[in-house]
Amino acid sequence: MAILPAPTRSARTELAVDATGLTKQFGGRTVVDRLDLAIPLRAVSGFVGPNGAGKTTTIRMLLGLIRPSSGQGEILGGTLDRPESYLHKVGALIEAPAFYPQLSGRDNLLVLARLGSIDTARVAQVLDRVGLSQRSTDAYRTYSLGMKQRLGIAAALLPSPELLILDEPTNGLDPAGIVEMRDLIRSVADEGRTVLISSHLLAEIEHICDHLVMIDDGRTVFQGPVTDLRTNRSSEVVLRPESASRLAALVALLDGAGFPARIEEDALDGSCVVVSIGAERAGELNRMCMGADITLSHIAERRRSLEEAFFELTGSHSRDTALAHSLGGVR
């Protein structure tokens, strides 16, 4: 397990969320286990892990909805045990959007604006921003799933938040809705706001995040910039001989030279040989093949996806496919 060291004191001053040892037990069950969180300011951070990893419980602790069993933290300079000291600067969408079905979208936001002493003029602004102005007077119960999700985002944007926490924001959205949501998140981040997105869809997170926190079984398994994860991740080189009949010879050659290789079937591109080494040694492989009279039609580096990195970090390659699917990838 590769847990990155906690940020240094100087780095902590630039953190939106700085929590250490967060633990939550329900009865005898530990849902979040000594979790450390260091979410940088003005960045989009992904908070990922399989279903049941403790993401929502952690977010609820950050929002003062659940009292941590132990641990401490600061959010935007306020302490975790006094959520009123920072929540006026935080917007959140927690799990599925929850509103009053009989009230209109506008009135639902008005309930929250009045409660949070937010200028009610913001209601029209955020409705416009998420593209719901035309339907703002319709009852919430008549909204489509995508519209409900957008209203949830509007509610989160209501206080003009410095920190926006979105828990599974693309849940239930169609591909167009996902792209729309991604653009919206990016535009919010471009305004200099800090965004923390929780998701079990690692591929989705990979597109929009600068920083990543991976958790599993309530524990941190990785925390740091996405680029660090990419750099640290072991890569592979994919080789495809000009003639498929040379596949076995290529594997034998590589094995003989001390490069463990395997043949992978690919329905689209045909079979290839995969070697688990860094891309910097691709030239060496190419020369070796040329020397053995094996002509390559394709040689390329293959970076592992976040899903694969997650399993690599947790050492859980043998996990069942259900977990793989809960992470949104087909391994």
Partner: protein, 262 residues
């Protein structure tokens, strides 16, 4: 801060279905009891505590008599609305949104409670006005003199009776609020509350008559009627207040400490 929570809650309470449904329902229930009282009142004799004669209705408190008899029905309505307003926040999951915008839980709860109480008070006051009109029409039909109703004694009686009725409604609403908070389900809270207030207490009182002097629903009902032949107003008010204070304290403590997982 409580004012913000109060104003926020009123956005939910003012929706037409709830507003007109409740105000109309309460007025209808109160008018129904007034109609029953006037149509069934014996023309002669002294009548009884629950059903005075026409002469009794001509007394200063005649105007509000029918409405006072509707106290349990009004209480059930108050209980149901209060229970629903808080339980729905759990069942819809909206409580988490509210607590993010107002993390001071006592402030949120207090504003919400005061809004619901003000809503019910408005419903009862409007129902009183409508019932008063119904009583005047019925008094005319049954030839009941109404001069005493508008005497200073009559208006004082009216104010006192209305005040007691409102106290009872607040009491029932407080019970409803607690039930909604602890049970977290509108349907479950309303069913359980109605079952307790209507048949359960009544059956228990019949089997063990002495419990009638101690059961919260009965006592609040007595307060609403300004005392009955068997239970005094002051004692009922005192014991009810103790019960409600304990229930309110428990509700506040639980609401402030409980994790919100809905």
């Amino acid at each position: 801060m409580i004012l913000q929570s109060f104003r926020s809650e009123w956005i939910k309470l003012r929706r037409p279905t709830l507003l007109f449904g409740t105000f109309g329902g309460v007025a209808l229930a109160a008018s129904f009891f007034t109609i029953l009282t006037f149509t069934q009142a014996p023309a002669t004799g002294a009548g009884s505590f629950d059903l005075p004669s026409l002469a009794g209705l001509a007394q200063p408190n005649g105007l509000i008599h029918g409405m006072s008899r509707a106290v349990v029905l009004l209480g059930v309505v108050a209980f149901g609305i209060a229970a629903t307003q808080i339980a729905a926040e759990y069942s819809l999951g909206t409580l988490r949104q509210l607590l993010v915008r107002q993390p001071r839980r006592f402030t949120l709860l207090a504003g919400k409670y005061l809004a619901v109480i003000s809503f019910l008070v408005a419903a009862v006051v409007i129902a009183s006005v409508i019932t008063g009109g119904v009583a005047l029409v019925l008094a005319h039909i049954r030839h009941v003199p109404v001069a005493a109703w508008f005497s200073s004694a009559g208006l004082a009686d009216l104010t006192r009776a209305l005040g007691m009725l409102l106290l009872a409604v607040i009491g029932f609403a407080t019970l409803g609020f607690a039930a909604g908070m602890f049970l977290k389900s509108s349907v479950f809270a309303v069913i359980l509350g109605f079952a307790y207030l209507l048949p359960f207490e009544s059956i228990l009182e019949r089997i063990v008559p002495s419990t009638g002097h101690w059961l919260p629903g009965s006592l609040i009902g007595v307060v609403g009627q300004g005392g009955t032949a068997t239970d005094g107003f002051a004692r009922s008010l005192m014991i009810s207040t103790v019960y409600l204070a304990a229930i309110a304290a428990g509700t506040i403590v639980a609401f402030r400490r409980r994790d919100v997982t809905a």
